[in-house]
Amino acid sequence: MLKIENLYASVGDKKVLNGLSLEVKAGEVHAIMGPNGSGKSTLASVLAGRPGYTVDKGTVTYEGKDLLGLEPQDRAHEGIFLGFQYPVEIPGVNNVYLLKAAVNAARKHKGLPEVDAFDFLGLVREKMKLMKMDESFLSRGVNEGFSGGEKKRNEILQMLVLEPKLAILDETDSGLDIDALKIVAAGVNSLRSAERAVVLVTHYQRLLDYIVPDFVHVLARGKIVRSGDRTLALELEKRGYDWVLEDAA
């Protein structure tokens, strides 16, 4: 589904990714871990097409297409979803309106008619229940006045409604208490299927207790220095990152 080969990327003058390679197949959940400043969020941003990030070298192929040649909105239409580390507040744009506009944009791309407003609201309500979100959310502005946890839950709600093929979740667990973490994890797990893939960018092993990954990768100095299964995350929790970095050096 996603193939990253020898990717070099920079933010301004700063080189952040230094020859990163990663392959994600449909049905898989990959966790990307690593110390602060290792390039985790940069990877997520480059995949979603955030402005300000320059790809210096390498290729990213998504479902056989050159992903880097697509605009952010086109990546979304193709089924990529970025869960933001810091979801943006947009007062004045209603949550439901955004969801509907997003769903309809994707449908238009596929040549499908717009969703029925009534059915759509029903779907949103159902997903909101799963995310344990209050009804009042429907009438509020996008993330407006939300707590940190509410914002993260809202990201997952958007993901559930948009049903992406590839979800890239950038530190979706940061700032969540244990109850909220469980809700978010349940949301992500409900989307797991043989056709979809998830890339979890996270600092902590804790999230992986609830969303069990197929692969765990350690990112350091802009490249993947070690890959393994779930047990690698447990080992990292016990021993920290230093031993991996030393091994890699």
Binding site: A48, G49, R50, P51, E71, P72, Q73, R75, A76, H77, F81, L82, F84, P87, V88, I90, P91, G92, V93, N94, Y97, L98, K100, A101, A102, A105, A106, H109, G141, V142, Q158, L162
Partner: protein, 462 residues
């Protein structure tokens, strides 16, 4: 102002003086207004509070007002649709047009056109001429706008000189009166229509709103143009709100694309009364609004919320002064302005806290959005405080749309042009969403969407 211009004002007035009704402004007051204008002139770009206004058009304008019989015919179909629940009174080039007006009963509130005997009243039984009232200058002989709140010297020095120009030439005026305790939340719309080309004559709208104790009034004041001529409109509005009363004043400036539209508003708010003014400005090539709200009684409150949308070569300039005179008064001034193309949106907000106004609470939030590479935003919040124990917040920003917000929308698959429209909309919605009357809010949203041109993105929001 050049001496040539003030001489011309005096000459044009002399030629028309005999036809100007003294019921609107007495001959004496007109002469006095002219005298001040002759000596101090109209403001120029050198005046601190006027440097962003576009005053050039005045050089070519005629200042005379039209006699009623030479008014151009306006058909009802030329007018924007009425808003449900509001009785409409129409003034064409400053003079009452009964044939276009549709009166309705509205809780004892009366509306009168000062000059015309054909004035309509929503409640004939409570014809209030001669009755005692809270405000000064209400008798039909002398509805005085500038004189009640400021002495002539202050007006000459200050920013209200365009009000004097109105006083000199006005042909008619609307007086809206709400008696004690009247409850008329969706009440009247005063629609001012300009038709004349500025080279031949000017339009001088006048509106006086007198609200007695504990009354509640919702008023729409709207300015439009009919025909394609570039009008010169110079209005005056005076609002007096007695103790405990509440006024929602919605002002819509939708003048024609070539118009020069100026106005001067003064308001006094007494004890525990509340004045909420929402000004939506989309029209005119050059618009300038000058307002002064005085909180004269303890516990008085005022809110001035302004939305300004300018595109092309439009210049929208505003000066809003709020004076906290009494203790424990509260005010809020908000601007949300978008300048696209080569347009300019300027807004100068000033809060003055007088020495007896302890416990004042004031907020100023001025935000301008640049939506064109050659557009200009000038926002300036000012504070003058002569006492302590006050809370005064102020903030001003001018900039482009937030890149993070834009990327967030794009990452959800929203097309770029739609995302940009949405964000502009969201920027204004902050103020528009405060319009409490759903019908009116919808209407104003449609006016704004129309001005923003590409409305496809917004269709579901309207």
């Amino acid at each position: 102002m050049s001496a040539v211009l003030s001489e011309r004002i005096v000459e044009e007035h002399a030629a028309a003086a005999s036809g100007l009704p003294s019921s609107v402004v007495s001959a004496e007051r007109r002469t006095r207004a002219l005298e001040i204008l002759r000596t101090s002139g109209l403001p120029t770009a050198r005046d601190d509070n006027w440097k962003y206004a576009n005053l050039r058009a005045l050089e070519k304008n005629s200042f005379r007002s039209l006699a009623t019989e030479s008014r151009r015919k306006v058909a009802p179909s030329d007018l924007p649709p009425a808003i449900a629940g509001y009785a409409r009174y129409v003034f064409v080039d400053g003079a009452f047009a009964p044939e276009l007006s549709a009166a309705a009963a509205h809780a004892g509130v009366t509306v009168k056109a000062v000059a015309s005997s054909g004035a309509q009243s929503g409640n004939a039984a409570s014809d209030r001429s001669g009755s005692a009232s809270a405000g000064a200058g209400l008798r039909s002989g002398a509805p005085s706008v500038v004189g009640t709140a400021a002495d002539a010297g202050a007006a000459a020095r200050g920013d209200e000189r365009f009000a004097l120009l109105n006083e000199a030439f006005a042909v008619d005026g609307a007086v809206v009166h709400a008696p004690k305790g009247a409850d008329c939340a969706a009440c009247v719309e005063i629609l001012f229509v300009a038709t004349e080309a500025a080279q031949s004559a000017a339009s001088y709208p006048r509106l006086e709103l007198q609200v007695e104790a504990n009354a509640r009034v919702g008023l729409i004041e709207r300015h439009v143009s009919v025909g394609n001529d570039a009008n010169f409109v110079n209005g005056v509005v005076q609002v007096n709100i007695a103790a405990g009363a509440q006024v929602d004043h919605y002002r819509l400036q939708q003048s024609g694309a070539h118009a020069t539209w100026f106005d001067t508003l003064t308001a006094t708010v007494e004890k525990d009364a509340r004045y909420c003014m929402q000004f939506v400005s989309v029209g005119a090539l050059s618009a300038r609004t000058t307002s002064r709200v005085q909180l004269v009684g303890p516990g008085a409150e005022a809110a001035v919320h302004v939305v300004s949308l300018a595109d092309g070569q439009q210049v929208h300039d505003g000066f809003a002064l709020i004076e906290h005179v009494a203790a424990n008064t509260k005010s809020e001034t908000t601007l949300r302005g978008i300048a696209a193309g080569r347009a300019r949106v300027a807004f100068n907000s000033k809060v003055v806290v007088r020495e007896h106004a302890k416990g004042t609470d004031s907020k100023q939030s001025l935000r301008g959005l640049l939506a064109g590479t050659q557009a200009e935003i000038d926002v300036r919040p000012q504070l003058e405080i002569y006492t302590d124990d006050v809370r005064c917040n102020h903030g001003a920003t001018a900039g482009k749309l937030d890149d993070n917000m834009l990327f967030y929308l794009l990452s959800r698959g929203i097309e770029k042009d739609i995302a940009l429209q949405l964000l502009k909309w969201a920027f204004l919605e902050d103020v528009v969403s405060r319009i409490a009357v759903p019908e009116l809010r919808k209407h104003i949203e449609q006016v704004l969407a129309g001005q923003m041109k590409e409305t496809a993105a917004l269709k579901e929001l309207l």
